[in-house]
Symmetry: C2
Subunit: 322 residues, 2 copies
C-alpha cells in the first residue's frame, strides 16, 4: 500500500510504498482509508514530544474515514480506554504506537468502526474523530456547559476549538472566542460566535469579560502565562477545561481568585468510547459540519504538517487518500 512514513524524528513525512497492515488479533480488521486528518498531536510526535517512540518508521494519523465491507465508516481513535470515565493505564491513541491513518489501509479493532454520519462527506467525517471527541468531553462531560451559559473558546483556529465552538453554538450557549488573529475571530463570528478578543491584547480580553459580565465556561489549549488572564475573566463557579499546553507551564495563578470564585480547572484529553458514540450522535443531531481548512493529497502530506506549524489554519487539514 501507499503510506506517509515518519522515518526518524525531525524528518519530513515520506510518501512511499509500505507493507500492508496485518490484523494483530481476531477482533481486528482492515479498513480501506479514503481520507485522514491532521491533529496537533501528529506535529508534536514528529518533534519528539511524545514518549515511547523507539521504533521507526511510524505511520501517523488518528483521524480516518474509509470503507469496511462496502460501507463508509469513521474510526474511533481510542485504543484501550477501558470501561471507565477515565482512561485505563494501557490507553493509547491510534497513530502511535499503533500505525495510523496516513495510509491506504489501517488495522483496527472492529469496535472502533462506526458508520459515517450521513450528513457528512468522507472528508468532513475524517475531520471529526479526535477533535470532536476532545471537544465533546472537555465542553460537556468535564465542564458541563449548558444552554444560555457564556463560554469563551480560546485559540479558535485549532481543530478542537473550532468544533467546540460549533457544538457550543448548537446547544444555545453564548459563545465568544479568542485568537491571535482578527481574521479568525471574524470567521468564528460568521459561524455564530457572538464576539471575541485578541489574546495578545490583555486589555481587549479584560474588556470582553467585563462587557459580557464574565464567563461561566472557558475552553483552553494554550496554558502558559495567559491562563491566569482566562481565570480572571471567569464568574463565580466557572469551569475551565484545559486540553493542551502549547504556551507552556501555567504561571502566576492567584489562589484567592481560584477559591473565592470557586473555580474549577479541569484537565481533559480525548474521551471514552461511550463519549465517542454520543459525540457522533450529537454532531448528526445538530447537523454540525466540521470546518475543513485545506485538502491535500496523501502524497503531499508534509505540507499539512508545515501548515500546522505555521498556525495559519482555520479548521482541519485533510488528506485525500488514493
Amino acid at each position: 500500500m501507499k503510506a506517509l512514513l515518519l522515518k526518524e524524528l525531525g524528518s519530513d513525512l515520506q510518501y512511499t510504498e509500505a507493507a500492508d497492515p496485518v490484523p494483530a488479533s481476531d477482533d481486528m480488521v482492515i479498513v480501506e482509508l479514503k481520507a485522514a486528518a491532521f491533529n496537533r498531536r501528529d506535529y508534536w510526535i514528529t518533534k519528539g514530544m511524545y514518549k515511547g517512540i523507539d521504533s521507526f518508521p511510524i505511520i501517523l494519523g488518528s483521524d480516518g474515514c474509509g470503507e469496511y465491507q462496502g460501507k463508509q465508516v469513521v474510526l474511533c481513535p481510542n485504543i484501550n480506554w477501558g470501561p471507565g470515565y477515565f482512561p485505563s493505564k494501557d490507553y493509547k491513541i491510534l497513530g502511535l504506537e499503533h500505525n495510523g491513518t496516513f495510509a491506504q489501509k489501517v488495522a483496527i479493532s472492529k469496535k472502533n468502526i462506526y458508520p459515517k454520519p450521513a450528513h457528512l462527506t468522507i472528508e468532513q467525517a475524517a475531520a471529526l474523530p479526535l477533535g470532536g471527541l476532545t471537544a465533546f468531553r472537555a465542553l460537556f462531560s468535564r465542564a458541563g456547559l449548558r444552554a444560555g451559559e457564556k463560554v469563551l473558546i480560546s485559540g479558535v483556529g485549532g481543530g478542537v476549538a473550532l468544533i467546540a465552538c460549533q457544538m457550543a453554538i448548537a446547544i444555545g450557549a453564548q459563545v465568544y472566542v479568542s485568537s491571535g488573529s482578527e481574521i479568525k475571530i471574524q470567521k468564528a463570528i460568521e459561524l455564530g460566535a457572538r464576539g471575541g478578543a485578541n489574546y495578545k491584547n490583555q486589555d481587549q480580553m479584560k474588556k470582553l469579560a467585563s462587557d459580557i459580565g464574565g464567563f461561566d465556561v472557558v475552553l483552553d489549549s494554550a496554558g502558559g502565562d495567559g491562563f491566569q488572564t482566562l481565570l480572571k475573566m471567569c464568574n463565580t463557579g466557572a469551569r475551565v477545561s484545559i486540553y493542551g499546553g502549547t504556551a507552556g507551564n501555567l504561571n502566576n495563578i492567584s489562589a484567592p481568585n481560584l477559591f473565592f470564585k470557586q473555580l474549577s480547572i479541569l484537565g481533559s484529553t480525548m474521551g471514552s468510547d461511550v463519549e465517542f458514540k454520543k459525540m457522533l450522535e450529537f454532531v448528526h443531531h445538530y447537523n454540525i459540519i466540521p470546518v475543513v481548512d485545506k485538502q491535500l493529497s496523501l502524497e503531499n502530506g508534509q505540507e499539512g504538517l508545515n501548515r500546522l506549524e505555521s498556525g495559519n489554519q482555520f479548521g482541519k487539514i485533510i488528506l485525500n487518500i488514493p
Copy 2:
C-alpha cells in the same frame, strides 16, 4: 458588653467595653456568646489583606457558641450565601463587615442559629463552624471524596486541614498528611492518618506518592510553588481542592500533567447553609471532636493571633468568653 476590638490595621486586639449589639432587622436576635475560635481569616484581616475594611473598630470572629433562649447554640457564619450551590454576590462572613464573635454578645439572623451538637463541649462546638464547613465542602461537595480513596491533606496543623483529616478518616478514606513539622505529622498519625511527608522535602513527598501509588484527592491551602508537586503526586482523575493561598501564586503548573491525568483543581471556600446543616449532622453522626490547640480568655485574645502567626498550633485556638 466586653469585646475584643480591632481599632486599626496592624494594631493588637484590645479587650475593652463596647456597645451592646442591636439587631438590624426583625429576623435578627442577640446570642450570648460563651466561646469563640480563631481562623486564619482573622489574622489576614488584621494585616489588611481583606477588602472593604473602611470603618473601625471591628469585632472579629466567625466562630461562636453560646446561649439563645436558654439553649446552647452554635452559629453558622454565612451571611447571604443565598439558595444556590455557589455564593451570591452579597455573600459575607460573620466577623467582617458584620461584628463577630469575639465579644459577649452578637447580633445574628435566627436562621444562623443551630443547636449545639450534643457530643461536643461549648469550646469544641466553637471550634467547628468555619473550619468544619470549609473542610466539608472542599472534601465532599467539591472533591467528592469516597471511602477507600487515598487523600493527601496538606498543612495538617491548620484548623480546616485537621477537621478535614478527621472527616476523611471517619468515612474510611486512606488519609495521609503533609506538614513542615514532623511533630504535627506524628500527631495526625495518632488521630488515624496512615502516614505523611514533610512538604519542605520534595523527595520525601515524591516517595510518599510513589509508596502508596498516588493520590485520588488532595486538599491544600498553601498554593505557591509547592502546588505543582501536589499535582504530580496525583493519579489519573484526581481532584485537588484548594481553599487557601498562604504560599502565594501557583507557578510552574505542567499543562500535560493536568490534561493527560485529567486532573480537577477545585477552588473552594466556606459552604452553603445547606452544607452547614449537613456538616453538623455529619460531625454528630461520626462523633467527630474538633482538636483544640489552646484555650485563652477573651481578655488575652491577642495571644491567639500571635500563635496563629507563629504557625505552631495544632488545632483550633479557643477564646473563653466571660
